[in-house]
């Protein structure tokens, strides 16, 4: 019995020692940045691009990085707390859907800066990145309308998040600015993972003679690329990341958010202490959002690209604003 007790004490001591060991090893004063994504980082879109941003922070600023994939709002909060408790300097919640969790957890960990991508919530240590994703979406609409032969196009989303909705509205406005009579179908998959459903939905849209599909569905959107690649006679447009290489032969271009650029911008400010909590507006002018035509296919006429370049220059100069009559 005494032996057993002694063994127990020894085990306990060892455990305590190791526990203390891990605690001290983490706090060496390094700049530490964490990223929460709502989906897998292999989606070649929204999440993959954010992870590249995190890696850029590590490579450029020498930061210690951590990434976690979360699904439910309860997990958003839980992981925001975890990183706050561990004393991370910057925690990025990647998406509009993280703002409520940031508002709740932020005040509990004042030494950690919480940034959400999308949204508009701010606080003493809470900031938001706001992307003018509608600007390049408008240009994509112009480009798409110029190649549509049937006069029918489609937008295909994961779920109807506000940024997705406004991007689709801008795409439609862009298309109508050059072809007022064009028909645009709208469909949502209902999630961001079901690639098979993404493919079937794209096929259904193509059976309705849609010949350009602007998809914004992350991993589920890969199914839409596959549908267009197999069926042909249509173009697909990528979103969030440069997806021109996913299916180069059928991709018209991508509406890109340069997340690595945006993340680095914020992380640099946080690291040197100059960061002030605010909504950081990132647009065409700051070159964080871009319409990137696919270089492997030369289908856009010079007239169209010149028209887009002209509008882009006017947008930067402030002499042109998006006609967003149809925006929500």
């Amino acid at each position: 019995m005494v032996k057993l007790l002694r063994l127990f004490v020894i085990i306990h001591t060892v455990l305590l020692a190791t526990a203390c060991g891990t605690k001290t090893s983490g706090n060496d004063g390094a700049f530490r940045v964490a990223l929460l994504t709502p989906g897998p980082i292999s989606d070649q879109a929204w999440n993959s691009s954010a992870y590249k941003g995190l890696e850029r922070i590590r490579d450029s600023l020498g930061a210690e990085i951590s990434h976690i994939q979360t699904k439910t709002p309860a997990e958003f909060e839980e992981n925001f707390r975890q990183y706050g408790a561990k004393g991370y300097d910057l925690v990025i919640g990647h998406g509009f859907e993280f703002q409520d969790a940031a508002q709740r957890v932020g005040p509990e960990y004042p030494n950690t800066i919480y940034v959400t991508t999308g949204g508009s919530g701010t606080g003493p240590n809470i900031a938001a990145l706001s992307f003018a994703f509608d600007e390049p979406s408008f240009f994509a609409g112009i480009a798409a309308a110029s190649v549509s032969q049937n006069g029918v196009m489609a937008v295909l989303g994961g779920t109807e998040l506000p940024p997705v909705k406004s991007s689709f509205a801008a795409f439609e406005a862009g298309a109508r600015s050059v072809r007022p009579d064009i028909q645009i179908l709208t469909a949502f998959i209902g999630n961001w993972d079901d690639a098979a459903a993404g493919k079937e939905q794209a096929l259904a849209l193509m059976s309705r003679r849609a010949d350009v599909i602007f998809q914004n569905a992350d991993a589920a959107g890969l199914g839409a690329f596959q549908a267009v690649r197999e069926r042909g006679k249509a173009w697909i447009i990528g979103a969030n990341a440069d997806q021109n290489q996913v299916a180069p032969e059928v991709t018209l271009g991508s509406v890109v958010i340069d997340l690595p650029h945006a993340f680095l911008l914020v992380a640099r400010e946080v690291q040197d202490g100059s960061f002030t909590p605010r909504v950081v507006h990132l647009d065409t002018k700051s070159d964080v959002v871009r319409w990137v035509p696919n270089p492997s296919v030369q289908v856009l006429s010079k007239m169209v690209t010149d028209h887009i370049d002209g509008l882009r220059a006017q947008l930067i100069a402030g002499t042109f604003t998006l006609p967003m009559a149809s925006a929500p």
């Binding site: 897998p40 989606d43 179908l185 098979a196 079937e200 259904a204 309705r208 199914g223 690649r229 197999e230």
Partner: protein, 307 residues
């Protein structure tokens, strides 16, 4: 006129969507007829997806299908050990298997394919039109311009129905699910029958996943099974635990999904959530309306060896 033109693509999509659901549901059916409810089916499907992707990238689609089937069986084997050897609760063990497989495949995918993923580079099997039959107007392309997996399904349904009702082994399977004690008294090796049934369900679950990757999407992503395992379990209930009924119920589900896709493409100005809910609302309605003679196997879900 326009609606008529949409009929063939709709029917094609129905069968395409029904195929992986039918495989998974037929597997679950066999397992349930032996008295084992396998909530790990979703896990078998995602394991099949991942196994198929991994192996097809190395050895082509045929190897991909084989490994997909084996991956499903591997998850099922772990489930069988818990349920038949350790005699844990079927519901809990099955749920654990699904969570395990979803996590495991996600982690392995990240480790093996990195942040860039597998892209769309996986070799796939496309549709193959049956000469002659696919030329029949309207239904020809729908039934006979599919992937070989759908044709395999055409063969599997009558074979399975015959096996279950016309062979001694089929009778043994049903006996184990209905009256375990009587089956034992009649000299049937109950654990062996259940092992066989669970592994069969795993194989068909794996095949379902392999179909998703190799005959449909051409890539993998975490959680791409997207609840199909649970839908398959509902399909078995809807099919009233008969082979033909289950196949028909899978087709109804496939059609409901295809109709949902089509509704959205028709640009009807209604909230899209209504369309997405449609297949599930339909299930509830059908479950309430359709009444068969048969009920669930009597031994279904009972813990092994508790009686």
């Amino acid at each position: 006129m326009e609606l008529l033109l949409l009929l063939t693509p709709f029917l094609e999509a129905s069968l395409r969507t029904a195929t992986p659901l039918a495989f998974a549901a037929l597997g679950e059916l066999v397992s349930e007829r032996a008295g084992v409810i396998n909530l790990g089916l979703e896990g078998c499907i995602i394991a099949g997806c991942f196994g198929a992707l991994l192996a097809a990238g190395i050895g082509g689609p045929a190897i991909g299908f084989a490994v997909g089937v084996l991956s499903g069986m591997a998850i099922a084997a772990v489930f069988a050990i818990f349920v038949l050897v350790l005699r844990t609760d079927q519901i809990i063990a099955g749920t654990a298997m699904t969570l395990l497989a979803l996590g495991l495949t996600g982690t392995l995918y990240k480790v093996l394919y990195g942040a860039s993923g597998a892209a769309l580079g996986t070799p796939t099997v496309g549709p193959w039109a049956v000469p002659g039959l696919s030329a029949i107007p309207v239904i020809g392309p729908a039934l006979f311009r599919q992937s070989v997996l759908t044709y395999l399904l055409y063969a599997a349904v009558p074979t399975l129905a015959w096996w279950m009702h016309r062979t001694g082994a089929g009778l043994a399977l049903r006996a184990v699910g209905e009256r375990r004690a009587a089956a034992e008294a009649a000299g049937i090796d109950v654990p062996r029958v259940r092992w066989g049934a669970i592994l069969f369900a795993g194989a068909f679950g794996g095949l379902s996943g392999a179909t998703l990757v190799l005959a449909q999407v051409g890539t993998f992503n975490e959680g791409m099974s997207a609840g199909r395992g649970f839908i398959a379990i509902a399909i078995v209930v809807l099919g009233r635990w008969s082979v033909v009924g289950t196949a028909m119920a899978a087709l109804v589900f496939g059609a409901a999904f295809a109709l949902q896709y089509l509704f959205q493409a028709l640009d009807v100005q209604l909230p899209y959530q209504l369309f997405i809910a449609f297949p599930y609302v339909l299930t509830l309605v059908l479950l309430a309306v359709v009444r068969g003679r048969t009920a669930a196997p009597l031994e279904l879900g009972l813990r092994d060896g508790t009686r």
